[in-house]
């Protein structure tokens, strides 16, 4: 079934049916601290403005989804949070990206240390060509952990949380991370990201390279992780956003300037049932994108 027919269907039978039995009810309330505050944030590649003055508050210990058609700047925004663009020539930011109240683009903020607190999971699983164990232990070692026992304990813990332990426990030191299947690789990358206990996990379309069953496992995993971590996920799959997130941000490329803009940011169930912006409704009902 195509996206369009699914969505048209959902409007007639309601949000709960769309997201299935996995409906969550955990509204983000104002009482929750904002972990990341985006304030009038713009992002440039050379002279090209990729994101135009986005402002939003990402609450701690919730899952925030960013959706939108391709080219709308959602991945750029996500990667701006932990300054992954630093290595890109000509990339620069304007406005503020506050993490725990500190603007991460301040001069004295060290991007390397920032990334140790803000983990990231990428679109394509990218395990290192190291053993499974070394893959997960990598972040720990980067953080200066040398105690072998502690590392082993942390690796086991992370693999268990990433629901991968049972599948790999017999070959932790024998198999390379790259020898696993795609879905396993992505869970390995999640285990690697959570091992060093970051505060925020950014996920850039983590399921787009996976089959439906592997995707479902990742979604379950996100569900389990939401209590300990602040998760921001970019996805092009609206059902996925609806299923896993507490809040949803919808971005769109401005046709005139070709810069991405934030159209609407609200609680997920509201976004999918009663969006306040016509463009959001059009997108969600599949009329463009």
């Amino acid at each position: 079934m195509t996206m369009r027919s699914a969505m048209t269907l959902s409007r007639s039978i309601g949000f709960a049916d769309l997201v299935g039995t996995r409906t969550r009810t955990r509204p983000a309330t104002d009482s929750v601290n904002a972990k990341i505050e985006v304030r009038n944030f713009s992002f440039f590649y050379g002279n090209f403005k990729a994101i135009n003055t986005v402002s939003m508050d990402v609450p701690a210990n919730h899952v925030t989804a960013i959706i939108g058609p391709s080219g709308c700047g959602k991945s750029t925004l996500l990667r701006a949070i932990n300054r992954m663009h630093d290595a890109t020539i000509g990339a620069r930011a304007e406005g503020e990206m506050r993490f725990d109240g500190v603007n991460v683009y301040d001069q004295d903020v060290d991007s390397v240390l920032l990334r140790r607190r803000v983990g990231m999971v990428f679109q394509r699983p990218n395990p290192f060509q190291l053993t499974i164990f070394d893959n997960v232990a990598y972040g720990l070692r980067v953080n200066g952990m040398r105690d072998k026992k502690l590392i082993a304990q942390k690796v086991e813990e992370s693999l268990k949380r990433a629901a991968l332990w049972d599948e790999v426990k017999d070959r932790l030191f024998k198999s390379l991370g790259t020898a696993l299947s795609g879905g396993q690789q992505q869970r390995l990358c999640i285990a690697r990201a959570i091992a060093s206990n970051p505060e925020v996990i950014l996920m850039d379309e983590p399921c787009s390279a996976l089959d439906p069953i592997a995707s479902l496992k990742i979604e379950d995993l996100i569900d389990d992780l939401r209590d300990q971590f602040t998760i921001v996920i970019v996805t092009h799959n609206m059902q996925q956003a609806a299923r896993v997130s507490d809040l949803t941000a919808f971005m769109l490329m401005n046709r005139a300037t070709r810069a991405g803009e934030l159209i609407e940011f609200d609680q997920t169930d509201k976004m999918f049932t009663a969006p306040s912006d016509q463009r959001t409704e059009d997108y969600i009902s599949g009329q463009f994108g």
């Binding site: 004295d108 903020v109 390397v112 607190r117 200066g144």
Partner: protein, 328 residues
């Protein structure tokens, strides 16, 4: 508060790991600079050491006709390397004339005509030809090729045509000379040109071939009128790199060209090349002027190959860029 602590910890990382990037960068840049320094040092060293001969003779070191290192009663030592320069140019020319069409044929065959199952092993074989040390070509040339070539080509040809065409004149004698050296050099530079040609032909987008086929061109017309013109800059670059290799080739020339300072018109007569002159005489040089003259010859060789390399790289770079533009 916890928030505040975090904020402070950002600017002072505790981990030792943190501070490795600056030394890492410095280390790689310094060692990479060794490569640049090496090239500069080579240039400077040869420039300085060739000074004596350059001030004594000027350009005559390269174009003077007489090379006489020994002091005799009747003559001062004179250093004019023209016989060697001429031998280098002639033998490289012979090599290029033979190798270019052959190498293009091989490149075309490997890139356009050959079934892929055969292409990989054949390419490997051709590249193997490039890996064989030049001294082995020399050995083979001396013991196998020269006697064979004398018998089936040099002697009959010089007997038949030598009286009419001076550069095919006999006597063939030992058989060592410009012609055999050129042929062996052709075999040596063949793989260089062929594999680069294959590479640039493979970069030609398939749309160009299909467009030519679709207006009723034969397979060869497609290759010759659409594919080869598209990558001509790259092919010229490949030939230039091959020429660079031929000009600087030392061992095959030393063993095969006969090492004679006399200028003879015949391609079958012994001659000498710049590289073999240096290899033969530098360790036995009789005076500092002699040494300096030989270094000048080497310096000229270095300069020429540098220019050829620069030109070839520019051409191949131009092709790569052009392809990228064409593909998008």
């Amino acid at each position: 508060m916890a928030k505040q602590q975090h904020a402070e910890s950002w600017s002072n990382g505790k981990s030792v790991l943190r501070h490795g990037d600056v030394p890492f960068r410095i280390g790689t840049v310094v060692l990479a600079s060794c490569v640049v320094g090496l090239v500069l040092a080579m240039g400077v060293i040869m420039f300085v050491s060739s000074g004596e001969a350059r001030t004594a003779f000027g350009w005559d070191v390269l174009v003077g006709q007489v090379w006489n290192p020994v002091v005799t009663d009747i003559a001062e030592p004179t250093f004019g390397a023209w016989p060697a320069v001429r031998g280098t140019l002639l033998s490289s020319l012979v090599a290029l004339v033979i190798a270019t069409p052959l190498a293009m044929g091989i490149g075309i065959f490997l890139a356009e005509l050959c079934p892929p199952a055969l292409s990989t092993p054949l390419s490997f074989l051709v590249e193997l030809l490039a890996a064989i040390p030049s001294v082995i070509y020399g050995v083979w040339g001396v013991f196998v090729f020269v006697p064979f070539f004398n018998q089936v080509f040099s002697v009959p040809v010089s007997d038949a045509l030598g009286d009419y065409i001076p550069w095919l004149a006999g006597p063939v004698a030992t058989g060592r000379g410009v012609m055999v050296t050129g042929i062996i050099m052709a075999i040596m530079i063949l793989p260089t040109i062929a594999s680069l040609t294959r590479d640039v032909l493979r970069l030609v987008p398939n749309t160009q071939r299909e467009a030519m086929l679709a207006i009723g061109a034969t397979r060869w017309e497609t290759i010759w009128l659409a594919v080869v013109p598209y990558s001509r800059a790259g092919i010229i670059g490949a030939v230039m790199l091959g020429l660079g290799r031929a000009l600087g080739e030392t061992m095959a020339a030393t063993l095969l060209i006969g090492n004679s300072q006399r200028i003879s018109e015949s391609l079958f007569a012994p001659a000498t090349t710049a590289a073999s002159l240096v290899a033969n005489e530098l360790t036995n040089s009789v005076s500092s002027l002699h040494e300096s003259a030989l270094i000048t010859v080497a310096f000229a060789l270095f300069g020429i190959t540098l220019v050829l390399n620069l030109g070839a790289r520019l051409l191949i770079w131009y092709v790569d860029r052009g392809m990228a533009g064409g593909r998008s």
